[in-house]
C-alpha cells in the first residue's frame, strides 16, 4: 500500500504567517480523519500486522507465543486440506467473477431505457443483495433439495432423469453455491454498470449510427470501451470478494459434503477459532493475503497499460 501525501505547492517565499496557516490546515486535516483512522488502526491495521507476525509462531492463546519460523508454512504446503481449499477458492472465483459480470452487464443493458415501471425491475434485481444472507442460503438450499426441491422437480419434468444432488453431492455443491452467489450479487454490480452506461455520451452512438455501425458493432466499439473503468472496478471488487467468500458457504454447505466446498477463509476459521491453532491459521491468512494482493496488483498493471 502506498499513500501519497499531497503537499500543496508552496507559494514563493512563504511569510511566517502563511507557514503557520499551512501547519494549522494540516493539523485540521489530520483531526478530521483521526476518529476513523484510530478505529482502523485498532481494529484492522494492528491486528493484521499481528497476524503476519503470528504466522511464524505457535500460539494457543493460553501461553506465550513461541517462534517456530517456517514450520507453519511447511505444514500447510504438506496438507491436503490446504490444497483442496485453495482449489475450491480458485474454482469459486473463476465461476463467480465472469458469471456475475456478464449477467450484471446484460441486466444493466436491458434496464437502461426510459420505460414506465423500469424502477420496479431495477429494485427487484437489486433486492437479493440487501436480503439477509442467511435467508438467501436457507431458501436456495430448499430449492436445491435433491428429491423434493423445485429445481430438481423441474429438471425431472423436462426429462432429465438423473438430476444432480446439488448441495449433497461433491461435484455439484460448488456450482450450487456459485449459482446462489451470482444471483445474490448481480443486482449490485448491475447498478454500477447502469451508472457507467448512463455516463456514456449519446453523441458517440449517434456518430456510430451515422457511420452505419450495426447494433452489435455499437456495443462492441462504443459501449465496451466506454465502460472500461467501470469494468475494471467491478473485476477488482468481485475478485477480492470471491477470495474472501465465507458466510454463504458456511450457511449453505458448511464446507461439505466432505471437503468439497471448503474455502480458504473457512479453513482459517476452522483451524484458528475452531481448534485454537492461531499461528497456523494466521499463516494461511498470510498466504490468502498474498494471493489476493498479487492478483489485484496484476489487474492494476494491466489496467495501466490499457490506459496508455
Amino acid at each position: 500500500m502506498t499513500t501519497e501525501t499531497i503537499t500543496p505547492t508552496p507559494a514563493p517565499a512563504l511569510s511566517r504567517g502563511n507557514r503557520k496557516q499551512a501547519r494549522r490546515n494540516t493539523l485540521i486535516g489530520w483531526t478530521f480523519i483521526l476518529p476513523n483512522f484510530l478505529g482502523f488502526l485498532a481494529f484492522t491495521l494492528i491486528p493484521v500486522l499481528a497476524a503476519f507476525a503470528l504466522s511464524f509462531m505457535e500460539w494457543t492463546s493460553f501461553s506465550a507465543p513461541k517462534w517456530v519460523g517456517l514450520a507453519n508454512f511447511q505444514r500447510m504446503f504438506a496438507s491436503d486440506s490446504f490444497w483442496i481449499a485453495l482449489r475450491n477458492t480458485v474454482v469459486y472465483a473463476l465461476g463467480h467473477v465472469p458469471l456475475t459480470m456478464a449477467l450484471a452487464l446484460i441486466l444493466a443493458m436491458l434496464l437502461n431505457r426510459k420505460l414506465k415501471g423500469i424502477g420496479f425491475f431495477r429494485v427487484a434485481i437489486f433486492f437479493p443483495y440487501i436480503t439477509s444472507l442467511v435467508a438467501v442460503a436457507v431458501v436456495w438450499n430448499m430449492l436445491f433439495s435433491p428429491d423434493t426441491g423445485p429445481i430438481n422437480q423441474f429438471l425431472h419434468a423436462v426429462g432429465i432423469a438423473e438430476a444432480p444432488g446439488w448441495t449433497s453431492s461433491s461435484d455439484w455443491a460448488l456450482p450450487a453455491v456459485i449459482i446462489t452467489s451470482v444471483w445474490r450479487d448481480m443486482g449490485y454490480y448491475m447498478v454500477l454498470y447502469l451508472a457507467g452506461l448512463q455516463a456514456i455520451p449519446t453523441e458517440l452512438y449517434e456518430a456510430a449510427e451515422v457511420d452505419g455501425a450495426s447494433a452489435w458493432q455499437r456495443f462492441w466499439n462504443v459501449t465496451i470501451p466506454s465502460l472500461r473503468p467501470t469494468t475494471f472496478f467491478v473485476v477488482v471488487m468481485l475478485t477480492v470478494s470471491s477470495f474472501k467468500v465465507f458466510d454463504l458457504i458456511v450457511v449453505m454447505t458448511n464446507g461439505g459434503p466432505g471437503r468439497s466446498t471448503t474455502v480458504l477463509s473457512q479453513l482459517i476459521y476452522q483451524e484458528g477459532i475452531g481448534e485454537g491453532k492461531f499461528g497456523y491459521s494466521s499463516a494461511i491468512s498470510l498466504v490468502l493475503f498474498i494471493i489476493v494482493l498479487t492478483i489485484t496488483v496484476l489487474q492494476f498493471k494491466i489496467q495501466q497499460r490499457r490506459e496508455r
Partner: protein, 426 residues
Amino acid sequence: MKRTTLAVIALAVTAGLGLTGCAGAAGPAEPQAADGKTKLTVSVWNYAGTPEFKALFDGYEASHPNVDIEPVDILADDYPQKVTTMLAGGDTTDVLTMKNVIDYSRYANNGQLQEINSVVDKVGKDNLASIDAFDINGKYFAAPYRQDFWLLYYNKDLFKAAGVEDPKDLTWEKYTELAKKLTSQADGKKVYGTYHHIWRSVVQAISAAQNGADQNSGEYGYFQDQYNTALDLQKSGATLDFGTAKSQKTSYRTMFESGQAAMMPMGTWYISSLLQAKKDGKTNVNWGLAPMPQKNDDGKVTTFGSPTAFAVNKNAAHSDEAKKFIEWAAGEEGAKAISKIGVVPALQNDSVTAEYFKLDGMPTDELSKKAFTPGDTALEMPVSDKSAATDKILNQEHELIMVGEKSVTDGIAEMDKRVKSEVLGQ
C-alpha cells in the same frame, strides 16, 4: 484518471480489509457488592432458551439470600470460542460452564481452572454420573451437574396403528426390521419408521460405545456394521435420506413432533423441549422412551452421552462463593431443581429419578423408566487435545459416506488415513 485509480485503490483496500465482526455478549462489568450482596458471575449460553440456568440460579438465590447471581450470556454457537477469548484476556467471571468435555480438557490442561477436589468429594463421586471424564491425574477441575445420554424416542400411536409391540430389548437388526415395518405412505403423508439426524454421533459414537472403542485411535473398522445399518435404513426409505435432511436443514424436533417419524435415537436433552412443546399445545405426540438398540442380545444396555459441568475460573473474583455454588448445583438440591424442568441431572439416585418421573407429561410406563437407567454410558468423544481435530475429519468423511459418494470401506479407510496423518502425526 490518476485520481480515480487512487480512489479505486482506496476502495479496494477498504473492502479487502473489511472485517466481519462477530456478535458476542459484552463482558461482564466488574462485580460490585451492591446492597451487601455478593455478585457471582456465571458464563451461560442462550440464557432465555436454556431454562436450566434460570432454575439453578433462582433456586440458589432463594436459599442463599446474600448472593446475587449474574449470568454472562453468550450465543450458543460462539460459546467455546468466546470463553477461550475471555480466558485468554484474563476475564474474571467466577463460574464457567463447561459445555462439553473437549473444551474442559483444553482449559484444564492449560491451567485456566481451579482444582475443586473438595467440592467433588462433598457431593460424592459415586453418585455423579460420568465424573471420571473430569479426572485429570486424580485432580478434578469441574463438577458435572447434568448428564445427557442417548435413548430411543418412539411414537406410541404409530406403534399401535402398525400393530407392533413396544420397542423392548432391541438389537440393531430388530430395530431395522421394525423401522421398515413402521414406514408407511397414507393419503399423501409419509411416515418414516425412524429418523436418523445428520450428526455423525448417530452412527459413530454409538458404535464406539458398543464396541468399547476409542474414537481418537485412527482405526475405524468397527464403524462398518453401524454404517451398513444406517445406509440400509436410508436405501429402503425407512428414514429421511441424509442429503435431503442436510440441504433442508431438517429439524429433528419437527420430524418427531409432527408424527413423521415413529422412532428416533436422540439425547435426553430433548425431553424438556418435548414436555414444553406439549404444554404449549404445539404437538400432541404420544411418546415413550426405550433403551438404545444394542449390538449384542445379552440384556446389557450400552449408550453414550455427555456431561455438562461447572468450573471455577483461575482468575475468579469470588472463588469461595463459586465453589459453594457448584457444590449446591451438582448436589441433590441442584439436581432436584433441574429435574423439575425435565433436565437430567448428573447426580443419580432413586429419589432424584423418582422426582424426575413425577414431571407433568412424562411417560410413566416401565419401559420408559428402564430406558432411564442404562447399564453403561460411554463418553460421546474422549477427553483429549486431539478430539477437536479428529471430530472435524470424522464429520467430513461421515457426510461422504452418508450421501453415497464413498463406499463404507473407502470412507473408513480415508478416516484411518487422515486421522493418522493429520492428527496423530504418524
